[in-house]
Symmetry: C5
Subunit: 91 residues, 5 copies
């Protein structure tokens, strides 16, 4: 899993029926302090995340398909959680 | 998924029957503003994309095989959509 | 497998029941001398690792699912061992 | 898929019977102009490629196993075509 | 596959029974001239490789599991051969 923040939406003419009615969100990757790394990915939402939300993303196809519950979903990245807090030891 | 723009075609003597009659497109990767990153990939088309089209590409083998509908397709990257617009929050 | 050291916890509102009651640990990647590389990952624990422990992490979805014993677990990274020692030849 | 040029052979004492009688080729990765990037990979041949041939390589395990027609082949990279031409738009 | 040289062993308290009695070797990645790149990986041995041996490593989970002959082995990297020679064309 990686951490990120939702920064926007992407709209596309997509042919595969899997994508009908699904939101494609742009997620800026962040470090553990929430600072953006400059990299991003495009993910399907599973937790009603909105712009500005800090999120956890599973970035692996088979794991993403398990969460969707559809073994044939053509996806790789899915938002699986909204981050409540990060607790890093100073040691 | 990643974003890119179709920049050309690649022609090859390919032995696997999966590739018969399929177009291999060169996709220059782009950032969310459509600026090319200097990296590229070779993808199979599924949406009749042409040179100059901004596209969404699934770059994971199992996801690509689901879109093709052929669990034995020897591919990794497939163009799944033509991008209509990208909406990024300023926050 | 990669080496790392547990540096903290991450708390998230997660919807998939797989995560109920599971700890998500932050693992700072290290080189073989235990020096942090600046990169990190978020892993599920399988060996009761705690903050400060040097650990081995399997960072591949199918391997991680085998360790959990759940072929549908939506995970990619799992802590599989606590490192006792590293023995590198000077040659 | 990625593009490359065959630059040599690698000989190894390999235990898995899959490799008996199979050639392991060194492929220097190239950009679309055929310029070597400095990176390389080791691939199994499926098209009788020889040193100096520009080639297309599938660099994903499941796709490579489909081409070999052996779902248990322990490979990741396979040469699937010899490149005839690359046609890149100037736009 | 990638090339490397065995540089040491790693010892760990591992819970998954797959690892019982298996050696975990540290492999320094090398270029085709045997020069170390500064990167490394941790691999399971399948060819009785020792410290200093130049080796071929399959670095993909499904391929590694095929060599072990155990579809549920939680591994990603496995040493599949000891390199006899590398023959690179000067062209």
């Amino acid at each position: 899993m990686i951490t990120g923040v939702v920064s926007g939406n992407i709209f596309s003419t997509i042919n595969h029926p899997f994508y009908d009615g699904k939101r494609l969100l742009i997620v800026d990757k962040t470090d553990l302090n929430g600072k953006r790394t400059g990299d991003y990915l495009i993910a399907v939402d599973s937790v009603d995340a909105g712009v500005g939300d800090p999120v956890l993303v599973v970035d692996e196809g088979n794991g993403a398909r398990q969460i969707i519950g559809d073994p044939s979903a053509p996806i790789r990245s899915i938002i699986v959680g909204i981050i409540d807090s990060v607790d890093v030891s100073p040691f």
